[in-house]
Amino acid sequence: MATHRSCALWSYCGRRWSRMMRCCRLSGLCSSWPSDPLGARHLSQEKPATETHFGFETVSEEEKRGKVYHVFESVAKKYDVMNDMMSLGIHRIWKDLLLYKMRPFPGTQLLDVAGGTGDIAFRFLNYVQAQHKGKQRRQLRAQQNLSWEEIAKKYQNEEDPLGGSRVVVCDINKEMLKIGKQKARAQGYKAGLAWVLGDAEELPFDDDKFDVYTIAFGIRNVTHIDQALQEAHRVLKPGGRFLCLEFSQVNNPLISRLYDLYSFQVIPVLGEVIAGDWKSYQYLVESIRQFPSQEEFREMIEDAGFEKVTYESLTSGIVAIHSGFKL
């Protein structure tokens, strides 16, 4: 009983501690404070050679960043083809469900982190455009007589077809951004889209800028997930929403066995045959196993300061969408 209470007290203190840490970091008082008891981060002055996982391998933290960069550099060209092959096209449904959950309204400012090839950004633009068109049609039906200014504006195409919505795609990898830009050009997306090279752990944006922050299949590759979550909290406006689509733990034992068999036996073979790269896809399936479960990740998001954190498991838990609000 006593231990329960002390645990709760400890975690409460820990949370407040980490929040104070963040404020102090911003105001530059970090040198006098000891490190966070939860062990989430180390101060910039002391940088011990901490180890982390790269798939099932153990590497130092600096190494992991470089290795992940190389993985995505080599898979960039075949990224979309491989996604379709590995998930048999189901990844499209997952991404559509993420947009459905987001329900953006015209005027939403979206930041898509680790959004390299632009899947989420393009879906967002389609959604907002379709919404805007629907709104216009409803307006026309409601009031049949438009003023001459409105008619003139329609003919001059001065109206913003997105209704003020903007999406910024941020990725740490140049190759992935290059492929994304090529796709945008090929599919005709121009307005409302920006491409930024940046690190999820240190976003090149000001505080309180975006309405929605999404990260789809990217956060498990980040070296310090808690830092990425804190950055997400920083750049969101109050009332903003954090959405994460990521591979997670399967809840059904039978499907889990089949999923493991498929992941470890088939996916690296597909990677070798289609993309000529076994090791990158071996890393992919191993990194999925290393990612925390739905509940653990939910707690991590709460620790970063988000509230009303929920998750929804899709396809028996193969992927999960986590959602939190900055209030």
């Binding site: 099932f56 391998e57 068999l261 036996q265 045959v273 191993e286 196993r289």
Partner: protein, 268 residues
């Protein structure tokens, strides 16, 4: 119901399907240093080898520029043929020496200046000329990855590096017709399933005229020479650079190429 499904899954488990970090020690441990037999080795289960063989065969056929797929096909299907080749090498004194010393043919191990200074008509000169004329390099051979025996991995690596020298010996260029002819020769010599498949399915992409030439002249010639010549992997080529090519061909019993190919690549 659950027990039925579990018993159905038992054979699947035997195929090598393993779960997360704890149960996956076989895959994990092997990948990260403990079970690696040679640098670049990727241990694979029988199911993975089967899938790789099928996938690489299909990909190699649909996209002939994927040389890495041909290599993967050779590695995953060549277990018995490689053992046969290794035993052949062990029986021959020169071959046994190669197995022991493990020489490699690559741009870093070849002394290009010395080879260029060799007399006209020698093996070394002709080999260099072949590399220049066809614009290939011995360094483009993929390293072995999926063979689960370290000696057999060397044997297939040696086979790949000797492939260009075979082109020189047979006088075949690197166009599709030349490659198929060399594959027929290699199929008879090595019995590697990859060579046999390449020899049988390669001609699918040929025009009717080339096919005619292939069947009437090149295949019989390649097969005859393949049977007549001793195992070509038993030659320590690094010691034979000065040997005149003609003399080497006589030693191996390789006759001149059919006249249809004589214009393709100037020979002494």
């Amino acid at each position: 119901m659950a027990t039925l499904l579990r018993s159905a899954l038992r054979p699947l488990r035997a195929l090598g399907g393993r779960r997360g970090p704890a149960a996956d020690v076989w895959l994990r441990g092997a990948r990260h240093g403990a079970g690696l037999l040679y640098p670049g080795h990727i241990p694979t289960s029988p199911l993975q080898k089967a899938l790789l063989a099928a996938g690489s065969a299909g990909m190699a056929l649909s996209n002939p520029y994927r040389h890495d797929m041909v290599a993967v096909l050779g590695e995953t299907t060549g277990y018995y043929a490689l053992k046969f080749l290794r035993d052949q090498m062990r029986k021959d004194p020169e071959g046994a020496e190669i197995l022991q010393k493990r020489p490699r043919i690559s741009l870093s191990t070849l002394d290009l200046d010395k080879l260029r200074s060799l007399p006209e008509g020698s093996l070394g000169q002709e080999y260099l000329r072949f590399l220049d004329v066809n614009r290939v390099s011995p360094d483009t051979r993929a390293p072995t990855r999926f063979v689960d025996d370290e000696e057999l991995a060397y044997v297939i690596q040696r086979y790949r590096e000797v492939h260009d020298i075979l082109h020189t010996l047979l006088g075949m260029p690197t166009n599709l017709l030349g490659e198929i002819t060399v594959k027929w020769f290699e199929a008879v010599q090595t019995h590697l399933p990859m060579c046999i498949l390449g020899a049988l399915f390669g001609p699918v992409r040929l025009s009717a005229q080339s096919l005619q030439v292939l069947i009437s002249e090149l295949i019989p010639w390649a097969v005859q020479n393949g049977h007549r010549a001793p195992c070509v992997l038993n030659l320590y080529y690094e010691r034979r650079w000065e040997q005149p090519l003609r003399a080497l061909r006589e030693e191996l019993g390789i006759t001149d190429a059919p006249t249809c190919m004589s214009g393709a690549w100037p020979r002494p």
